[in-house]
Amino acid sequence: MVSWLLATPGRLYVVATLLPLAACALLLVGGCLRGVCRPYRESHPIARFLYFFLGGHRPLRSGAYLATGAMALSAALAIFGLVRYLDEYQTLSPLEMHQHWVESTTWAKVETSGATAMTLEIGYRVDHLTALMFAMVAFVSTMIFVFSIGYMADETEELHEDHEAHITRPGRFGRFFLYLSLFCFSMLNLVIADNLFQVFISWELVGVCSFFLIGFYHERPSAAFAANKAFIVNRVGDAGFLIGLAIIWSQFGTFNIERIISDLAGGDPPISHGLLVAAGIGLFLGCVGKSAQFPLHTWLPDAMEGPTPVSALIHAATMVAAGVYLVGRCFPIFTPEVRLIIAYTGGITLFLAATIALVQTDIKRVLAYSTVSQLGFMMLALGVGGWVAGLLHLLTHAFFKALLFLGSGSVILGCHHEQDLMNMGGLRRRMPVTAYTMLIGVLAISGTPFLSGWYSKDMILSNAMGFGLQNREHMVLFILPLLTAGMTAFYMFRLWFLAFAGEPRGLEAEHAHESPGVMTVPLIVLAVFSVCVAWGWPLWDPHASYLGHLLEKALPGPAHGLAIDDSTHSSGWLALVVAASGFGLALLMYGTRTIDPTVWKARAGALYTFLREKWHFDELYDAVFVRPAVALGYGTARFDKRAVPPEQADAADRAVNVSSLDGVLNALGLGTMFFGARLRGAQSGLIRRYVTVLMAAAVALVAVLVVVYVGS
Amino acid sequence: MKELFSFLPSPFDLLAACLVIGIILISFIAVSGLFFTWLERKVSGRIQDRLGPTRVGKYGLLQSVADAIKLITKEDTSPDVADKFLFKLAPYLALCASFVAFVSLPFGNGIVGHNLNVAAFFILAVLSSEVFGVILAGYASGSKWSLFGGIREAAQVVSYEVPRSMCVLIPVIVAGTLNLNTIGVQQTGFFWQWNLFHDPFTFVAFFIFFIVATASCKRAPFDLAEAESELVAGFHTEYSGIRWSIFFMAEYASMFAVSGAAAILFLGGWHSGLLPFEPSLELGWFGHVLNVVVFVLKGWLLVFVMMWMRWSLPRLRIDQVMMTCLKYFLPISCVLLVGVCLWELFVPTIVGQVWRWASAVVCALGLVVLLVQMLTKALPGPKAGLPGAWEGMPTPLLRAKSA
């Protein structure tokens, strides 16, 4: 078995991907079996044995251990695969590399008349980017699995009292891990897929899992609504993705990314420029939907309804990153115009999200908007051609954002589900580990030197600066991120000071206690990683990150030379100045309370409420899209409404009766009845009337004949 | 005839010719009508062993004239409930139907109203339409009884039409044409040339035809209209005076027409049977006269036989009449028809000729013997009592003699 794996190490990744799926399958089967045996548990011995073996009334913890173990194993395999890939990269020729790390089988063949048969394949393709991404996702997922064992502990009770939905329901511990492992499988599958169709399948699976996990507490109406919203907005993005796919399929005839890129690179591409642009926009629209970029970003803050590990895993590290990963993977497909669109979308998103994050009071909302903003950064980087910068930021961001979210998770758990920052304060003494690990995360994200955030953000800013310098009209693409970097620092430190500094303001804050070891250990590990993951010799040179060099090796052909570094290094200094000013401002306002935030809030007034209301996007979308759709729905329903019997119908009903479809159908029926009755009259049984009609007809006929005959 | 009046402009000469012929025929029928009434009375008298009319005219010859005058002067009443128009119309219908038959009846070779080549068929047709007079009369006289009488009479005549047509067909098949004139011409020569003796079937066919003809004229044994007690005189009970006489005129006319047809079809028409040649050709105009005389004599002879039958045979009931027609006459005439056809097809001429001779000789001999016996048989003296059941009954003669 091992020899089989070592012969083609690519298969390592396949096994790593399938492990969470296996875990998920096992949990599912176990749960169903228990459900089936439940009614027979008294009467049937075997059923009774099975029922209690699978956990009886109380949800089983062993299921969770099983899932976490599987995830840890796949993480180990991922890291082993990464190391093996890196050393083989040095030793083997590209052809051997291709044999070891690329493999695919066809599972469906579409015979279209005339054109060559199109094939649908399943396969994997490992290169630097994939290996790194796979390792990151696997590792972060494992951390979150371990964390959620602690976090979801109260779900293990037989009757769990749900405060928000005010009902008591059986615990759903097993189910949570089932969804999580399914999600991990689909994320991993997305990363290693070598053709767009497989990407699309996992893309949808990921969306579905996010729907399940957001709506985990489905008794709560807000959770259900949020899950719905997330799924529908994602679907809008997926529609774009599908259009892009269709165009590519029809033009290239294949989904394989490698072959598409080689066709594009080689001389005359089989696709016209216009169509290529359309495909690019389509694919990017998918990413916008998935990574919550500017037009379709409203679902991410609402997605915080799900349990915190979910937010950490899905809405920080992995799923939202999928969009950026896809843009990175299919980078050559995007023409310059599309890249410009990507850049601007990224720019707008980061600025918008940052401004909203400034005024948010809910701890998870702040982090959500910071995620949206950071994703904007990545999109901007890719848009301006900084392929390595964008993806490096993706990797580093995954770590410290996961850290921040888990930290907030333990804070919420500590304060007994209290999420409002205003009721927190002074938690650093009660929850020292969480406080200081979150401090590291905050420092990393705001780009303090020698931490991972600094390396990637600085690289982005320098690329943006270079791009801006080269084509002056796009200078705004540098200014926006610069400002946002300052704002990021400001709201992150604001969060930290509100939560941990000062005196506890709420009741729960006083009684807060440190989370158990199973939650603090992942925090510490993640803190360590968010510090040193982007290090490279010499330490002080932002462009020297070892991870960055690895990524450069995976740079797709046409993307070479696009990244324009800022020659004057001024972008780095500017970033530092802006970040420091942000930190200073936050310190003054929340740390030492020299500037009273309430005064500024009053003065800002309209601007403050505007930002708090999330730029009224929700209302806008509601008015523009949701309400007309609903109205249309009701209209057609009304149209199809069953016709109300006349005696009971009031004026409106009567109007509807006539217009409604049923009315039309009934009218049709009545009409024929009416004419039928008329015709029946004609058959009066009176022979003489028949004869007269006969005569009339004869006369008419003869008249016609005469006219024709005599006339001619 | 048309060339006689060639001096008149085109349409009128034809008209004049038709008128002349019409007048001749009508006068002949009228005269024969009168003669027949007289003959009827005389024959019935003789058969009933009485004299018949003697007072009026030499041998009561003027009796029929007297009757005519009486009838004309009689007041012709008509029942008020009846439909006046139809009541008056009926007799004329019957009359004209029988008169029209004479149009195509050849009295002599070429002496014919209008030489139709479907003459036989025409006569049949016209005679069949005579039924209407009967029906309408029956209906128009309003009373249910006359209606019954009329309908019975009509049913009888209509049903007898079928065997009559069959029997007419038989000589037509032998002659091969419907034109009576040609049929007559074919029978020139001695009496064995007559169709009667042509083959056994025609021989029987003559007698069947004669009986059926009397029936279709509503006479003799089949005149059930007058027979029923309640029907009184059947369809013409309500008629009196001149209308009644018209009916009778029609009846005698149809009798003569039928017997004339029988004469031509079976008895050689205007041939006396004694001259081997066609008289009209050889003897010129005298031949024609001879032909006409012979034909009329034959007609009258047959009418006499009808009268003879009438006063000697008992009447038949309505169902008996129908039964005889449908169960006896129809099958017989069918058989005869088939027989004649077969005879024509298969029997060689020699056999036909032999049969002619044999049958003619036998008939002649029979006739002679019959005559001799009649003339020589001693008449029963006045003293001899009444025969059979009336034995010993006192008769006026006996009483007169005894007194």
Partner: protein
């Protein structure tokens, strides 16, 4: 007589036909309708024979047709009368307007 063309005969035929139809349409007595039918058939026959007379090629057919029509008319009249009588026996009336059981 010969200068008379085909038209008068056809006109007479047409007239008879029209009278026949009128009779059928207006008579309320079943037998009246039967008479109307007879008239119509006769009209047709007149046309047949007239055409037979004036169209040499049609001579034989015309007459044969006329004969057939006459015979058929007789048959038809028989059946019609039988039906009328039956109707009369069953419904004690011969008025056509009463015979509307077959109405829709």
């Amino acid at each position: 007589m010969t200068e008379l063309g085909l038209t008068p005969y056809l006109c007479l035929g047409a007239f008879l036909f029209a009278c026949g139809l009128l009779c059928i349409a207006t008579k309320r007595n079943a037998v009246g309708i039967l008479m109307g039918v007879e008239l119509v058939l006769n009209a047709a026959n007149v046309n047949f024979v007239a055409c037979a007379r004036f169209v040499p090629s049609f001579a034989l057919e015309g007459q044969v047709f006329a004969l057939l029509v006459i015979v058929l008319a007789a048959g038809e009249a028989a059946i019609a009368l039988a039906i009328i009588l039956n109707f009369y026996n069953n419904h004690a009336t011969v008025d056509v307007d009463r015979a509307d059981e077959l109405k829709g």
